[in-house]
């Protein structure tokens, strides 16, 4: 467990939880990133200004932290370019078909004890772990 960072994980997680709490208590909305991105692709969404603002905040946060002198993690994408493209399409299509992603199902859904979200989280984690296992230890091993 050489790279295990429990304290920053808990602190960062609490911030993500705080954001989801602000969204539901203030705006009455589920803070699911795939749902927000997906509805921005729909014409005539009445919530578009708020949803754009949320996405802008997501992008700006690490930039502002970096400008303020906070250490930023490196972004290491080891997957090949074709894998990045296929992975992106699967994540985009799959999260919309499944009705949520790590934030919508994994955090907000489980927070309200939704069995659908618990099942979705178990499935995407199992599928992700299976792909990593095959890629690293069957093909790459």
């Amino acid at each position: 467990m050489s790279n295990f960072t429990p304290l920053s994980a808990l602190a960062g997680g609490a911030l993500i939880g705080l954001a989801a709490a602000i969204y539901i208590l203030g705006l009455g909305r589920v803070a699911g990133v795939s749902g927000i991105l997906g509805s921005l692709l729909r014409p005539r969404s009445g919530d578009a200004p708020a949803q754009f603002a949320f996405v802008a905040g997501l992008i700006a946060a690490p930039l502002l932290m970096g400008a303020a002198g906070a250490p930023l993690p490196a972004i290491s994408v080891d997957a090949s370019l074709p894998a990045v493209i296929v992975g992106g399409v699967l994540v985009g299509y799959g999260t919309r078909l499944g009705g949520g992603c790590t934030s919508g199902h994994g955090v907000c859904g489980i927070a309200r004890f939704s069995t659908r979200s618990l099942a979705a989280t178990a499935l995407f984690m199992a599928a992700g772990a299976a792909v990593v296992f095959v890629a690293r230890h069957v093909i790459g091993g």
Binding site: G13, A21, G57, L58, A60, L63, M65, G88, G92, A129
Partner: protein
């Protein structure tokens, strides 16, 4: 006011993804690599991120549902529905893509400002996948909005 609150929410969310290093796909894949449990290289950080988030979000949802409305308007909590094939197929497709690269939607957005080409390509492909869904698979009919079918 909703726009300001949404901006603050995005900033706090993005700060959380950055502090927890979930913006780094290598960190996420180190969690998904369960063979590391036996090898001593497993990184359980992602589980701690979810635990930290749930500790704050679960009480907030309890309060919101008890009050029955939000500060700035009605609550839009998706109706409880049964597990169905769409949910299962979608979650598995998402998991495969997540395992291939290590990005899920939130980190894919927050990583955009870091300037990594592959992160930008991933984001574009993800939006493409969402657009294909809207074109061929989104439920149609009156009254169903994106909010209804999100988790």
């Amino acid at each position: 006011m909703p726009v300001v609150l949404a901006l603050v929410t995005g900033l706090v969310f993005g700060a959380g993804l950055t502090v927890s290093q979930m913006v780094d796909p290598a960190k996420v894949l180190a969690f998904l690599d369960i063979a590391g449990i036996a090898r001593g290289t497993w990184d359980p950080s992602l589980a701690f991120v979810m635990g930290g988030a749930l500790a704050v979000t679960a009480p907030a949802y309890y309060v919101a549902q008890r009050r029955g409305q939000a500060a700035l308007g009605p609550l839009f909590i998706p109706p409880r529905r049964r597990l169905d094939k769409r949910l299962a197929v979608g979650a598995v497709m998402f998991g495969i893509g997540w395992g291939l690269v290590g990005f899920c939607p939130g980190p894919a957005v927050s990583a955009l400002g870091f300037g990594a080409t592959k992160a930008i390509v991933f984001f574009a492909a993800m939006l493409g996948g969402m657009a294909v869904y809207e074109a061929i698979a989104a439920p149609r009919g009156p009254g169903l909005t994106a909010a209804d079918i999100s988790a």
